[in-house]
């Protein structure tokens, strides 16, 4: 029996301390998943709570076909997407062409000023990145998940995950490299 299986068995027997442990271990992941999709900070904690309540409710049907963390992340992702739909927050479908279009320079004087600080510039680039791209990028690099796990969480085919990751990285690195070389010339 794995550690996750023991933990789940204890929770199913009604052990609340075990459930508290599960929350402590996964709260960071859930919080990050939700915040990457939903910008409204006032709803953030409530959505995270709802995710864990759903986890507790559905734990009996979890069959260990995937890792517990992947399953919890899937619930968090779907819950956040449902919240966005309920609040009529647009979930954009971004094609390769329109993604490139987003990053074409139409710099306002304010943006030119921001460009002086590379981290601030990177922030503006990340803000332009559609939520799904940002999600794939962070799940892969920061949460250390593989293509299959990301596909399972987001419901995207593995090929799409790879594509999003490749496109996001490519466009960001090219913009940053251009900016860095501009700074070096100055």
């Amino acid at each position: 029996m794995t550690e996750d299986q023991i933990l789940v068995a204890r929770i199913l027997r009604g052990d609340m301390e075990a459930f508290r442990n599960l929350i402590k271990v996964h709260e960071r992941l859930v919080s990050h998943m939700v915040s990457r999709l939903i910008k409204q900070r006032e709803d953030h904690e409530e959505i995270c709570q709802d995710v864990f309540l759903k986890v507790h409710e559905k734990l009996g049907v979890f069959n260990f076909q995937s890792k517990l963390s992947t399953w919890i992340a899937t619930i968090a992702y779907r819950h956040a997407i449902n919240f966005m739909k309920k609040k009529r927050i647009l979930i954009e479908e971004v094609s390769a062409e329109s993604l490139v279009e987003r990053f074409v320079d139409h710099e306002t004087p304010e943006e030119i000023f921001i460009d002086k600080d590379l981290d601030a510039y990177v922030k503006t680039l990340i803000e332009k990145l559609p939520a799904q791209y940002k999600m794939v990028l962070t799940l892969f690099h920061l949460d250390g998940m593989n293509y299959e796990e990301i596909g399972e969480i987001t419901g995207m085919p593995e090929g799409t995950v790879k594509n999003y990751l490749f496109r996001a990285r490519n466009i960001l690195k090219e913009k940053i490299k251009t900016q860095t070389s501009k700074e070096e010339i100055v």
Binding site: R20, S31, Q49, V122, I126, I176
Partner: protein, 132 residues
């Protein structure tokens, strides 16, 4: 910046691209990830986050228990009511049936009970003992 550059380079090289991954590429993506990591860190859940979830689960469970007991009692009352209605509809008359017939053979009845008890004792003493 807590991003492991070597690991990041490895991850980027997993995909077969036409051009090789340069140090500048890794630096650029490392910077993006550092910003994203800081963004994640800036969002904190309250210190009593797990307590409030546990409280909600307990509250829900108590509510479900109350509803469960209510359902259980309502079921028993419903069954009794249905039984009374059914009995009155079919005009059921209570009858001891075959028991009336064997009422005169009380000795045989007692022998039956004693015989069953004896079989049980024998089974416990000898058969179970030998199989162990």
């Amino acid at each position: 910046m807590n991003i492991d550059k070597e690991k990041l380079k490895g991850q980027m090289e997993e995909e077969k691209t036409l051009s090789p991954i340069t140090t500048e590429d890794v630096e650029a993506i490392g910077r993006v990830l550092a910003v994203l990591e800081n963004e994640d860190k800036s969002i904190q859940l309250s210190s009593n986050f797990s307590d409030s979830i546990i409280k909600q689960v307990m509250h829900k469970r108590a509510k479900e228990n109350r509803f469960g007991w209510f359902g259980y009692l309502a079921g028993i009352v419903g069954l009794i009511v249905m039984l009374i209605i059914s009995l009155s509809l079919v005009e059921f008359k209570f009858d001891l049936g075959f028991l009336k017939g064997i009422a005169n053979y009380s000795g045989l009845f007692l022998f039956g009970i004693a015989f069953i008890c004896l079989l049980n004792i024998l089974e416990k003493r000898f058969i179970r003992f030998s199989s162990e």
